[in-house]
Amino acid sequence: MEQYLPILGMVLIGIGLPVVAIVFARLLAPHRPGGMKGDPYECGIESTTSVRERLSVRYYLIAVLFVVFDVETIFLFPWAVQYQVLGLFGLVEMVIFIAILLLAYFYVIKKGALKWA
């Protein structure tokens, strides 16, 4: 496990660097909030409606599809590393696995889930 310790160190650096630098900049930079500075940016027009509204359902569809395909990628990783050992059996099995996914993929396209226009 000790080879993962440097990775932990790098994660700590990744957290520490922005935290330290942002605090340091806060001490150095002027800080005078107030007036119109705190308003949301809308090209100079006064904001009338709330931002917290309903979003297009397509974003959720993309998210769900992503989960399906990303899990497939994760399944492919160990298979790929062992591929030369598995031989023809591995190829046939993965073609079947990909074919099942493609079936769902074409169903999704047919349903128009990926249409943006």
Binding site: L12, R26, L28, E42, I62, L65, F66, D70, F77, Q84
Partner: protein
């Protein structure tokens, strides 16, 4: 010796040095970007600060440091502050497993062995992909927490785009793993040392991987999240000062990570460029890799080659940015879902059949 020192403190210092080098690279990458794009558009670019404008990045950092850091009144403050940290963390941490020299270039400082990579884990590629995909949280949370319209739209677009291209980004690597039979980045380069650059075996995968990488980094021509003519600045519209600087930094380090991955996986990492003359002059690879001078020379040469190759890939990024107009959003999604994913799956099947054919011929 003291295990705490060897396994944590020394790698930690190593990581700090690596991060500082990375920051310097990012500073001059921004300068290079402005200069290269300027010359491509027949302009001169920044040339006032220092000789030939070489101190421009330092002036930029100082300017960001002493600029007032505003938080919108309506923002969710905690998430607004955490978002740039997440974005930076995901890109810096990805660098832990990227090698810039072989195990034979291990040098010893005060009796501690310093390897030319922080960690060599057997799931190296998986680690890079998973940690760099955390970056999307920084962007979408930053956009949402600003409680303003343009950042929200930019953050949503960005999230949808990044997760869409995450899939071909991962699938394009599968072919490399099938050929080499390992997921450790060091072992993949060692495989290329014994055989040949994987670019020659996986040319289509390089193209897919690089396109997916450009889209992952939200760079032109896929920079829709910050399409300045539509969304002002996308998810970081409400950010200013150093919090903005860290979103900016994260984007540039992510570019370096993708370039380093392309170099490691397909272009032989720290191996020297011999232009195919290695077979004619058998001593050339050893000469160019510094094998004649012991570990320190090998380390320097390895770093030099990685540096040259990575900056070549970064130049490619800038070249693409200066050449192609931005895609429309539906075009972007169509390329991702209707071309990249089926094409990378087809390439995996093709690679599999190819490996079996080679095995059958050899036996």
């Amino acid at each position: 010796m003291y295990p705490v020192l060897q396994y944590f403190v020394v790698p930690f210092i190593h990581g700090v040095v690596l991060t500082l080098v990375l920051l310097l690279c990012v500073a001059y990458l921004t300068f290079m970007e402005r200069k290269v794009i300027a010359f491509m558009q027949v302009r001169i670019g920044p040339n006032r600060v220092g000789p030939r404008g070489l101190l421009q990045p330092i002036a930029d950092v100082v300017k960001l440091l002493i600029k007032e850091d505003l938080t919108p009144d309506a923002a969710n403050r905690v998430i607004f502050y955490i978002a740039p940290v997440i974005a930076t963390l995901s890109t810096i941490a990805a660098f832990a497993v990227i090698p810039y020299g072989g195990p034979e270039a291990t040098v010893s400082i005060f009796g501690f062995p310093i390897r030319p990579y922080l960690a060599d884990v057997n799931v190296g590629i998986l680690y890079v992909i998973s940690i760099s995909s955390i970056g999307v949280f920084g962007i979408v949370l930053g956009g949402w927490a600003s409680n303003s319209k343009y950042p929200l739209l930019g953050g949503l677009r960005s999230a949808a785009q990044m997760i869409s291209y995450e899939v071909p980004f991962g699938l394009a690597i599968i072919g490399v793993l099938m050929v080499t039979g390992t997921a450790s980045l060091v072992e993949i380069v060692q495989w290329q040392q014994q055989h040949t650059w994987l670019f020659w075996l996986q040319p289509f995968a390089v193209v897919l991987f690089f396109i997916a990488g450009v889209a992952e980094n939200n760079r032109a021509p896929f920079d829709l999240p910050e399409a300045e003519s539509e969304l002002v600045a996308g998810f970081h519209t409400e950010y200013s000062g150093f919090k903005f600087a860290f979103f900016f930094l994260a984007e540039y380090i992510a570019m370096i990570v993708v370039s380093a991955l392309v170099v490691t996986l397909f272009f032989g990492g720290w191996l020297p460029v011999t232009f195919g003359l290695g077979h004619l002059f058998p001593k050339l690879p050893a000469l160019l890799s510094g094998a004649w001078g012991g570990p320190w020379v090998m380390l320097l040469f390895g770093m030099g080659w990685v540096f040259i190759k990575v900056f070549f890939m970064l130049y490619l990024y800038l070249w693409i940015r200066a050449t192609f107009p931005r895609y429309r959003y539906d075009q972007l999604m169509n390329i991702g879902w209707k071309f990249m994913i089926p094409a990378s799956l087809a390439w995996i099947v093709l690679t599999g059949a190819g490996i079996l054919a080679v095995q059958a011929i050899r036996s």
